[in-house]
Symmetry: C2
Subunit: 229 residues, 2 copies
DNA sequence: GTCTATATACGGATAGAC
DNA sequence: GTCTATCCGTATATAGAC
């Protein structure tokens, strides 16, 4: 009906949302000031409080958006690049490495940063953070299950636990890289994971029931080229 | 010479340092206010700025203390509990789980929290954070090397990378547990790591050069009892 | 070394005209 | 829906007597 009005409304709200997303990522939730957000969004205080109840409310909107954009913005492009489930996982990790490098090792995972910063009393926020982690791990878990179906991983491994491990590797790697000011600890973390995966993939019992490394049908070391030293 | 004066001086400084340590851990660096620190330390603003240049300066002192206390306060008690290098690693992880539970899953690793919070421009702080990570990993690496010497881990594994992986597992596990409000993701992360270790330990070539699980001389599943479901 | 009082800037949020 | 002006609390840091 009143499409024009609605469009304009979305636009300002969107600018604020984008500015908040960026600044929460770059400076953290507390350090990102309202004035800064408004300036970057080219909006005024009045507009902000027309669309959002308060600062926490916009953080909730930011986290909501991250959850919705997991596939469209993060995973789909990577999934499109390769169908190999194991390679997908390591390409996903490489994506974070890329972001890390592009930002001088300052900004890694926006979810992780917020997760360690905001007070435990903000229960809604923490529920949303958990939902984001959950979606990410579900995608990795699906890759692992597929690898299992292809008999590249032993049927005995717990994919849920392994997916959780992968997320921890990413978050822990990003965290360390930030303090070191370089990608080395991120790379070492990922390579540590690769060692584990390589071993797990070498222990798939083949049809005859013997253990061996023979069923490593495809390699995924291609991605390793993106990891230094 | 003037021992009394020095003793008093250290005492107030110490109270401030302790209060700052606690509050940075509980609320983060930015959210922990000077007034709060001073109240908990039972000290006044004047005393604070007599001992420290500013807030950042006391954070530096806190991180310095963490680095010095790694063995005396964290590792020595754990190392004393067992000599098994692999078990030591998992007991170290269990220690963080314990802290997590005791604080309702709010406070995990104080170093990690600060690492993701403080601005990249605080280079001295980041150097100290890296030094803390470095010390922690060196200790884990030493355990891994020992396990390697005992031929429980293949000589081919890279202990540096594996130690880095262990730190990431801890930090990533703590981070997730905080948002979930329970220990499950921490446990899953650790169990994911255990799956990897179990496999690695099952692939040590024995003296005859054959691969097998036979050389798993000691079990370390004792610690698993502390991990739920 | 410790105390109180205070400077000064900035935080998030609101009021009310348009 | 957007604008400007502003409230009021809190932030870190300082001054200067004791």
């Amino acid at each position: 009906m009143n499409a024009t009005v609605a469009t304009n409304a979305i636009s300002t709200r969107q600018r604020i949302l984008t500015a908040a997303t960026e600044l929460f990522h770059e400076k953290g939730y507390t350090a990102a000031g309202m004035a800064e957000i408004l300036e970057r969004a080219q909006a005024n205080s009045g507009s902000f409080y027309y669309f959002f109840r308060n600062k926490e409310d916009v953080l909730a909107a930011v986290l909501d958006r991250y959850e919705k954009m997991l596939y469209p913005e993060l995973l789909d492009p990577i999934w499109k690049a390769t169908k190999d489930p194991i390679e997908r996982i390591f390409r996903l990790l490489a994506k974070y490495r890329e972001l890390l490098c592009l930002t001088n090792f300052s900004y890694g995972c926006p979810i992780g940063r917020i997760a360690l910063e905001v007070d435990a009393s903000m229960t809604k926020i923490h529920r949303q953070l958990a939902a984001n982690f959950e979606g990410w791990k579900a995608a990795v878990k699906q890759c692992l299950r597929e690898a299992q179906k292809e008999r590249r991983l032993p049927a005995s491994v717990d994919c849920q636990q392994l997916a959780c491990l992968v997320l921890s590797v990413m978050e822990g790697g990003v965290m360390q890289a930030r303090s070191y000011g370089n990608a080395r600890p991120f790379d070492e973390s990922v390579k540590g994971l690769q060692q584990c995966f390589a071993t797990l993939m070498g222990t798939v019992p083949n049809r005859l029931g013997r253990r061996g490394r023979s069923r490593r049908r495809r390699t995924w070391k291609g991605i390793t080229g993106q990891l230094q030293s």
